[in-house]
Amino acid sequence: MKDWGYSILKGRQIDFENNDFSIAEYITKHEPSFRWCIGCGSCTATCSAARLTDFNPRKLKLLIQRGEIKGLADEIAKCMLCGKCQLVCPRGINTRNVIQNIKRALNTCHAL
């Protein structure tokens, strides 16, 4: 096939029809409060890791729920499990358990 110095790109749209929801389902099953998020961003605002890296727990949680899990293992490794997000969450989400279940889900659902 020809190479003309540019390539055909894959769309960046969240492709809901073809995405992988196994991790989201795993987390919801083990920590139902995962669903309660309203995307307010309090967690990211207080996040210790977000001060030092581009880690964004709000976005990460939403992307998992949309089945976008590419690079999830690297992302979640940025979390220091300091637990500040749990203190500020207005919906009382057990964020610590959500994070730990993300890690478990990665081991269970995907050998990433």
């Binding site: 960046r12 749209q13 969240i14 492709d15 809901f16 029809e17 139902p32 669903r35 309660w36 309203i38 995307g39 961003g41 709000r58 976005k59 939403l62 992307l63 729920q65 949309r66 976008e68 919906r91």
Partner: protein, 358 residues
Amino acid sequence: MAINSQHIVIIGGGPAGLEAASCLGTAGYRVTVLEKEKQTGGKLLIWDKLFPEFRNSDKVLNHLSNGFKTNPPQILTNAEVVSVIPENGQHRINLRDGQAFQADTVLITTGFKLYNAEKKEEYGYQIYENVITSFDLEKQLKTGNPIRIEAGLTPRRIAFIHCVGSRDIKSGNIYCSRTCCITGVKQAIEIKRRLSDAEVFNFYMDLRMFGQNFEELYIEAQQKWGVTFIRGRVSEIAENKDNSLQLKAEDTLSGRPIKMSFDLVVLLAGMVPEPRTVEIGKSAGLEFTSGNFLAGLDSHISQNETNTPGIFIAGTCREPLSVAETLTDARAATVKMISWLRENETSHKKPLIKRDND
């Protein structure tokens, strides 16, 4: 009880008009309600269950008709008002059929009209079979029949689109219709109650859960019913080959465009003023809000009075309101009307005093 000879005409026999009629009747006034349809009750007749507690709309309708035990109003149906003209300190109310009424004071409670969702062409209402409005869904729910899409199938994935014809300069409506947010939550739960396996999504710009127990219902939708809320205004809906609908939005909170397919899309169409209200308002010389609703004298202290003395307004003809707010608003209007009638009565009895500077 003593009946006051002063005559009040209420234009519109929906929740606001009926609630006001019962308050004014109890207070001893002679009231005539002019309803353009063949039955009073307004849009409550269409509605199945009311947010936030899913009570049947019949319960509110019953409350409204029970208010007439003492001094019931005269109710005229099929009575379409075309104009209200001030005349000799009174008001002349003209009907389409040529009839006319005289009133000392008039209360306009003509309600709202559903925004014509066809105008948001990019959503394909009346073009794609499985795009419906919240009204259409409510009518379907009221039948008690199972929810089906056009082909007779059970929908598996359903979207609610917020702010259709509201908060949108392109549709001419800058204002927020206020009640659509909670309607989306309510109807999403009703769908989940009937179709527990269905996936239900709400696409919103902001969720305005202003009323009592509204936020609680939103939490219930997420926690108990698993309804998903995506913050992003839907850009367009197109039909796939299998008649399902492709929807595009940005999932703004994750910062990515999103494309999804749905079996059924419900447009939460907003409230717009009834064209008839505009006609009547113009005939009576009333002022209008930027959204073309009837304007009160003051946005804080006299929302129910108008710039024409003796003409009052209540309910959704003056701004989008919930049923609960509409009833409160109607009661508030009656207090202002009664004070006005009393002042007016005494001023009639007083000799006219000519001031020097006149």
